[in-house]
Symmetry: C2
Subunit: 350 residues, 2 copies
């Protein structure tokens, strides 16, 4: 039994002269085993170079992986998540909950084609899914009969979800700028397909419905409401959709809409793009133009000027999501509150 094959419980039992069950107990419930027997088994294990039960067997038997999977939204790879400040803080929160639970965090990849098979095959006890309303994905996850939580997307009362109150956040952002006296707004929204920024000119029908996901939609609604409250219509506000990572957003803003004094965004990242472009053009923020970010990432506090932004507890969201997966209780839909943190990127218009 020693052909350099890795030894098994049974091998150890054979050498120690006890049954498999006893060897298993030595490793998992040592208190149930008489001390002398335990020592004999440990000696046998040592001799064979056996280092404890192989997790594969346990997994099959118990059905538990002691791990949760985090799947980035849409076409994002794990690398994109780690690269982005938002993704990073989210994963940080998830990892904190995993630390507490002693669980492993599996970052699972899914290109658009492989997402469902990944869901089917991942070695995890549950999932956290990035924002996505992809019904196939949800179906796959449900089929797997594993707990899962969807972020930033409400998929109905039977499905765990956590999202922020983006509508209120958007509303606060507009209200803040309006209170400062701004009347010329511009919105940076999120383009869900790849490609250059798409510019929606004012007055061409209701553009709010161009939102790809619930996340954008809610925020646009909030913007619309906030504008309505100061007798403006979102239909008169230009909307630029940019893909995450798009660097030219700022240039488009200043090239095409020099009259705008208040820029509303859907992410700190977009806001920072505008800040960078402003520096390049010698446009002073907030003197010439005010900018409001979204998410309140750590980065937003370190820009010059620091960003006024709709803030929420990103890491807390990740952590809560993981906890919900671990608990595996009744489905809940949680809406987290947001807060407008006013910093240096907003001021009254000139």
């Amino acid at each position: 039994m020693n052909h350099s094959k890795t030894p098994t419980l049974a091998d150890v039992g054979r050498v120690a002269g006890v049954s498999r069950g006893t060897v298993s107990n030595v490793f998992n419930h040592p208190d149930l085993v008489r001390p002398d027997v335990r020592e004999r088994v440990e000696a046998a294990a040592q001799q064979l170079g056996y280092d404890g039960p192989d997790p594969r067997g346990r997994v099959l038997r118990d059905g538990k992986f002691n791990a949760i999977g985090f799947m980035p939204p849409g076409a994002y790879a794990i690398a994109d998540v780690i690269r982005s400040p938002y993704g990073r803080e989210l994963v940080l929160g998830v990892s904190l909950a995993c630390d507490e639970a002693g669980a492993t965090l599996s970052l699972v990849n899914g290109t658009d084609e492989t997402r469902t098979s990944t869901i089917r095959e991942a070695l995890v006890d549950g999932f956290i899914l990035g924002h996505s309303v992809d019904i196939d994905l949800i179906t796959s996850a449900q089929r797997r009969r594993l707990p899962f939580v969807i972020l930033e997307s409400d998929a109905g009362p039977d499905i765990n979800s956590i999202r922020i109150d983006g509508r209120s956040g958007a509303l606060m952002a507009v209200a803040h700028l309006a209170a400062l006296g701004h009347r010329h707004f511009l919105i940076l929204s999120i383009r869900r397909t790849s490609g250059p920024p798409i510019v929606h000119m004012p007055g061409k029908g209701k553009r709010a419905i161009t939102a790809g996901f619930q996340l954008d939609y809610e925020r646009l609604e909030g913007f619309a409401q906030g504008l309505a409250e100061v007798n403006l219509s979102i239909d008169d506000v230009p909307i630029i959709e940019t893909t995450p990572g798009e660097l030219s957003a700022g240039a488009v803003v200043f090239d095409r809409f020099p009259e705008a004094t208040a820029i509303l965004t859907m992410s700190d990242w977009q806001a920072i793009t505008v800040l960078d472009e402003a520096v390049r053009r010698g446009i002073n923020i907030p003197d010439h133009v005010s900018v409001v970010g979204f998410d309140g990432t750590a980065e937003s506090a370190r820009t010059t000027p620091p960003l006024t932004t709709v803030t929420h507890d990103i890491a807390g969201k990740g952590r809560l999501a993981a906890q919900m997966v671990f608990e595996n209780g009744q489905p809940r839909q949680i809406i987290m509150s947001v807060e407008l943190v006013v910093r240096g990127s907003t001021a009254p218009p000139r």
Copy 2:
């Protein structure tokens, strides 16, 4: 067979009137199955709500998890890795290789006590271990008979390792500063236990050996050599050991060693601490004091002034480590080259 239990391959086979093997083939090698049979099986699967083979069975049978584990060094948690710029870039590299290989990246936690059991139990095909010379950990990893790579620590010819040429990096840093005319050096080294900075005054024996790990040791050697080449001795240079994350390092430097004009560090992070403290005290860098970082994280380019730093390809290192795990070939010990990137934080002494 329908007691709301999750269906298995056998259940599907029973309904479709074929054997388990055929059902397995439908999902894994559909080309081997006659189309009409395949359809029958697929219909049965659909009817039962069977969504493909359970990964647990496959894992036991095949022995492969299709995942690699990343274990942070020493007492770090996953969260610490994600928080730190260096850890983040490293994980980014690992994740890129995982993306390419279609594998999952498991971030496994190990507190000091649970590290070896984590190694024993993680559901992975191999490991990347943060820098550590902990022999128990290496033994555990070897026992598991899984490929693994150790970062920043050479554990001998039988063990995969990747590290940077820290000695040369350190040497370059000193040479650069010496060429600028500096004679009053100070070294920020790494404290491996928790607690406040430890100050090693000059002239009190050979302090280089206080290094906890190979990483520090090599760099101290490099510093020593560089100093020797300009007729200085490391024994005359103060060394301050700080824990990663320690914020007071900069204060200790300026409080205790105002005569130092050239600060050598072991991480960008330490260097940034010094920069921050300098701003607080109105000390101009590089006019009053020059600072050299280590690692060349993305952050180092964005500080004010941008940091002169010993740079290496952090993400590349992570990626290579993952590739070595996937390849599982002959053990290799790789030393990656470093480069001194001169930016704004160094200048001739006043």
